[in-house]
């Protein structure tokens, strides 16, 4: 095995972990069902150190995994057994914040929410808002093209990234894109986003900022059936309104949220719908009437309109707590994020319900209804023999259903380790061969995050996990 001596010349001893106790906390990420022990964890504090680490890996042909806060739900930052983890949390400078051009240039370890915090005094914000935004990093968001609750209107991470300076797996340093929102030539910035760490490590990311909406109109609606909630979504979409968010929770998810945060949603609801319009006050004055009229014509049994910012937050509190809350219903759960065409949401939910009944595995549903992005939470008890495997098998059936309906394996979590076996269900052999060739153009030795995205022998075995420590602490959630 290669000696680690060379690494000691790059980072000092206190930022190079090699003993078992130190390595332990890096064995898993947000997908706790998988574990792998790295040989070392290096914590660079500068781009130059990061480049030197990658070049050392390239020279020695040692696999490396870049890691931010380790919140990936697809196992994207799962270590490679005996490889190196490059922890980027300390590369956390906001290098430039330019309010006039609406641009922030950040290092990969900057936490998502910190970008908005820094931009707020200038009347700006960073739009992509994955649920783990108070802890997840921009580097990880870029690698997995993270989403959030506002993707229908504002797009995913890639839509807000203008340029990337990166060190490729070969050690070469490249820059894609510029500060312009236009680009000439192929969009390599766009290709890098969502490449799941297989190309290299982003060192500087140029983000486009937006002014936050002036006003919101947030409505919580209770329905007696999931179907009725689904019909309301269709009516909204067909009306020509473009809501910033459109979320549905089913009865089991509501029950969990009530138990966790007493969100006081309409009692007895089989489903609640959260609709949020946003924009300049003049526009909203007209559109809110349109929405209220439209909702009144649906089969709602209770409709609540947030009259101020506090009420808006209280509506969102139940929704945002849903994932950690489900932890109270069950010792363990798996969450998927498959996508179906929006018009087939009702059918998809019915089929999930049937599968749940048939397998006697409880499934709670929370989803981004505007873009068809499901989040079935599959509940199980990891101490029960074979329970994890049965839950995984149900998850696989749900994913295959999404593909069969013309959707996608993943709306925002990425393929990672978790869904790599299903990639051939979505893409044919020629396309996967092309993906692999693209990877080789960036990383001919396959040392950058191997074992992710592509099916293969590199993926480690399932283990019974228990919740992520950060999840237990209520800091992160799985959506």
């Amino acid at each position: 095995m290669t000696s680690l001596e060379g690494l000691r010349d790059i980072v000092p001893q206190d930022r190079l972990f090699v003993d078992q106790a130190q390595l332990k906390s890096f064995e898993s990420d947000g997908l706790t069902a998988f574990k792998a022990k790295p040989r070392a964890v290096a914590l660079p504090v500068t781009a130059d150190e990061t480049i030197a680490l990658v070049r050392w890996c390239a020279r020695e042909k040692v696999p490396f995994v870049a890691r931010g806060s380790g919140t990936s739900l697809s196992g994207g930052s799962l270590p490679v057994e005996d490889g190196i983890v490059i922890g980027l949390n300390r590369l956390n400078r906001i290098i430039d914040l330019d309010p006039e051009e609406r641009i922030a240039v950040v290092e990969p370890g900057v936490i998502n929410a910190h970008v908005t915090q820094a931009a707020t005094p200038h009347g700006l914000h960073y739009a992509p808002d994955p649920s783990s935004q108070i802890i997840c990093t921009i580097g990880g968001n870029v690698a997995f093209n993270s989403g959030g609750a506002h993707c229908l209107k504002y797009g995913m991470t890639a839509n807000h990234v203008l340029a990337i300076k990166a060190v490729l797996a070969t050690g070469e340093v490249v820059t894609f894109g510029s500060r312009s929102r236009d680009h000439l030539g192929p969009d390599l910035t766009g290709l890098f986003c969502g490449s799941e760490g297989l190309f290299g490590i982003a060192l500087e990311i140029t983000l486009s900022l937006l002014p936050p909406a002036e006003e919101f109109h947030t409505v919580l609606v209770g329905y007696r059936s999931l179907e009725a909630a689904g019909e309301a979504v269709s009516a909204i979409i067909d009306s020509g309104l473009l809501p910033g968010a459109l979320e549905i929770m089913d009865a089991l998810a509501i029950e969990a949220a009530e138990a966790a945060v007493q969100c006081n949603y309409p009692p007895g609801a089989a489903a609640v719908l959260i609709v949020e319009l946003e924009g300049p006050s003049e526009k909203l004055a007209v559109e809110r009437k349109q929405l209220d009229k439209l909702l009144a014509a649906t089969n709602a049994f209770e409709t609540r309109v947030a009259s101020d910012a506090a009420e808006r937050l209280s509506i969102w509190r139940g929704r945002k707590s849903a994932f950690s809350a489900v932890g109270r219903l069950s010792p363990d759960f798996i969450v998927q994020d498959g996508v179906v065409p929006r018009s087939r949401l009702g059918e998809a939910l019915r089929r999930i319900e049937e599968m749940s009944r048939e397998t006697e595995i409880r499934v709670a549903n929370v989803f981004h209804a505007g873009d068809g992005n499901l989040h079935p939470l599959i509940l199980y008890n990891g101490h029960e023999e074979g329970a994890l495997e049965r839950a995984e098998a149900l998850a696989a059936r749900i994913l295959r259903m999404c593909i069969e309906m013309g959707g996608s394996l993943t709306g925002e979590h990425g393929i990672g380790v978790e869904k790599s076996a299903y990639l051939p269900d979505m893409f044919d052999e020629t396309t996967i061969t092309c993906f692999k060739a693209i990877r080789h153009a960036f990383d001919p030795d396959e040392i950058a995050n191997p074992g992710k995205m592509f099916p293969g022998p590199e993926a480690p075995a399932l283990q019974h996990p228990g919740a992520h420590p950060l999840e237990q602490a209520g800091i992160i959630s799985r959506e």
Partner: protein, 349 residues
């Protein structure tokens, strides 16, 4: 061989030509001009909308489909392509629009082609059919090939089918305008508006007149109040915006060059151009794109180089398509080996 009408005919055409370039409506002639011995693969018979359900906010069509047909179909359901595709009346196709990343003033609000292209089928240089992305608005599976196609100018393969995200169209539009004494003040206002609460969907600047024009969309009943609040004077009508997208303002015998800028780079560029009165300029999308219409291509090349900017000649004469700073990406060669190892797709330098 006749022009392809199906994807398998595209495969045949790729396999039977050593050098070829897919061409749509030819509305950006410098991007579709080829040397001798290179076949121009006319894509205009591979047409038709293959999937459109307005409730999905997506549309899928063959690459040779005219954008005008797509816009008419979307318009009937009150939807549109928010990025303002260019040269629509002149006959632009969907494939050409993606390959050239041809977005107009409306890109300011929700982004350009990269933000709306969600799926693609293409025939690569080996004659293989590759599919990237999907047909749903949210998708994080696999490498983002649709984005790689945006601006690719045909170098990775022949796109045969493209899926786009679409949005509901605002019920009405209104324009406002301001005239300034200098470029600095005008660009400062453009940047101020694009971070304002008004969410403008387009902000164009005409430097010769020092005139800044803004467009907003929304419910009819909201526009009077929005106009009063944003200030300025009443702006031009839809015809004016149409001219911006069709470039009827530009001299067609002179070169039309597109420069990607950041808003702050616009004033130095305009000052650099002041020495050349023969150049007509339009600053688009609040200073993120500058269009130059000029007979002095080599002068422009020098100016762009001195400012470290890149330009792409879309129409008109000139020795070289790329001006100013050239991109030097070893990766381009590596990716060409992936998609087109035999260098079939002729893309002039």
């Amino acid at each position: 061989m006749s022009d392809p009408t199906t994807e398998s005919e595209v495969v045949e055409a790729v396999k039977s030509h050593d050098r070829l370039l897919p061409v749509g409506g030819g509305t950006k002639p410098r991007l579709s001009s080829v040397g001798e011995n290179t076949h121009r693969l006319d894509m205009r018979k591979l047409t038709g909308i293959t999937e459109y359900q307005s409730s999905e906010y997506t549309i899928t069509a063959h690459a040779g489909t005219m954008i005008s047909e797509i816009q008419e179909t979307l318009g009937r359901q009150g939807q549109y392509l928010p990025f303002d595709p260019l040269w629509v009346d002149a006959g632009a196709t969907l494939g050409g629009t993606v390959a050239a990343n041809a977005a107009g003033p409306g890109r300011l609000r929700f982004g350009g082609l990269r933000d709306f292209v969600i799926g693609v089928r293409l025939v690569d240089g080996r004659g293989q059919v590759i599919r990237g992305g999907g047909k749903v608005v949210k998708n994080a599976a696999g490498f983002d090939l649709p984005k790689l196609m945006v601006g690719s100018l045909g170098r990775w393969g022949v796109m045969t089918e493209i899926s786009c995200k679409v949005f509901p169209q605002p019920a009405a539009w209104s324009s406002r305008e301001w005239v300034f004494s200098d470029h600095e003040a005008a660009m400062a206002k453009a940047m101020e508006l694009s971070r304002s609460r008004f969410e403008p969907d387009a902000t164009e600047y005409l430097p010769t007149e020092h005139r800044l024009v803004l467009r907003m969309g929304g419910p009819v009943e909201s526009l009077d109040a929005l106009n009063a609040a944003v200030g300025g004077a009443p702006g031009p009508d839809q015809n004016w915006w149409q001219q911006r997208k069709e470039f009827t303002w530009a001299d067609s015998s002179a070169a039309l060059i597109r420069v990607a800028t950041s808003p702050r780079q616009v004033v130095p560029l305009l000052n650099g151009l002041a020495i050349d009165p023969a150049t007509h300029v339009q600053v688009s999308a609040a200073g993120n794109t500058v269009w130059l219409n000029t007979t002095e291509v080599s002068k422009i090349d020098e100016i762009l180089r001195s400012l470290n900017l890149t330009g792409l000649v879309h129409r008109g004469p000139g020795p070289d398509r790329w001006l100013g700073r050239k991109s030097d990406q070893k990766l381009d060669a590596a990716l060409q080996a992936v998609f087109d190892p035999e260098h079939r797709f002729c893309v002039a330098a």
